[in-house]
Amino acid sequence: MNKSELIDALSKKENLTERQATDVVNLIFKGFNDELKKGGRIEIRGFGSFVVRDYGSYTGRNPKTGGTIQVAPKKLPFFKVGKELKERVNIK
């Protein structure tokens, strides 16, 4: 399911126009991006939480050539699945 399918499902379930459903979905995920960009943390009960982790610089290798390369420090978002969703995904 991609974003437009999510928008579609929301508009059908809640009787919203395409435009209205788009605004809601965009506001949520734009809000997520902005929050993580600020270095903040997001916690959605039953779904999961997002944090930004700092990774220091390290010496890596180019797997194709074998040459060493210096990998610059970077920030990456990390998702931890919430209890409810973890269980729902794993139902046998």
Partner: protein, 94 residues
């Protein structure tokens, strides 16, 4: 740095889109419910500009109880993974 919760998102939907607090809460809950429902059925969710969620099957493996050293069987299970989009990765490092 604070933590953004569902409450903050509901408040934002209320402020920016003008729905009542009650309706805003229903809409936000519904968005996550649709996503969860889809993932629970093994689907994949791709939100362009943010990232994608997918369910991966983990094989059974032998492990050890780190406290007792006793060998234990870890059964196969399904786990949820998140892969950030290039846009988000770039945003975080700009």
């Amino acid at each position: 740095m604070g933590t953004m919760t569902k409450k903050d998102i509901i408040q934002k939907v209320h402020n920016k889109l003008g729905y009542s607090k009650k309706d805003s809460a229903i809409l936000v809950e519904q968005v996550f419910e649709i996503i969860k429902e889809n993932l629970a059925h093994g689907g994949k969710i791709k939100i362009s500009g943010f990232g994608s969620f997918a369910v991966k099957e983990k094989q059974a493996q032998r492990g050890r109880n780190p406290q007792t050293g006793e060998e234990i069987e870890i059964g196969s299970r399904k786990v949820l993974t998140f892969k950030p989009s290039q846009v988000l990765r770039k945003d975080l490092n700009s």
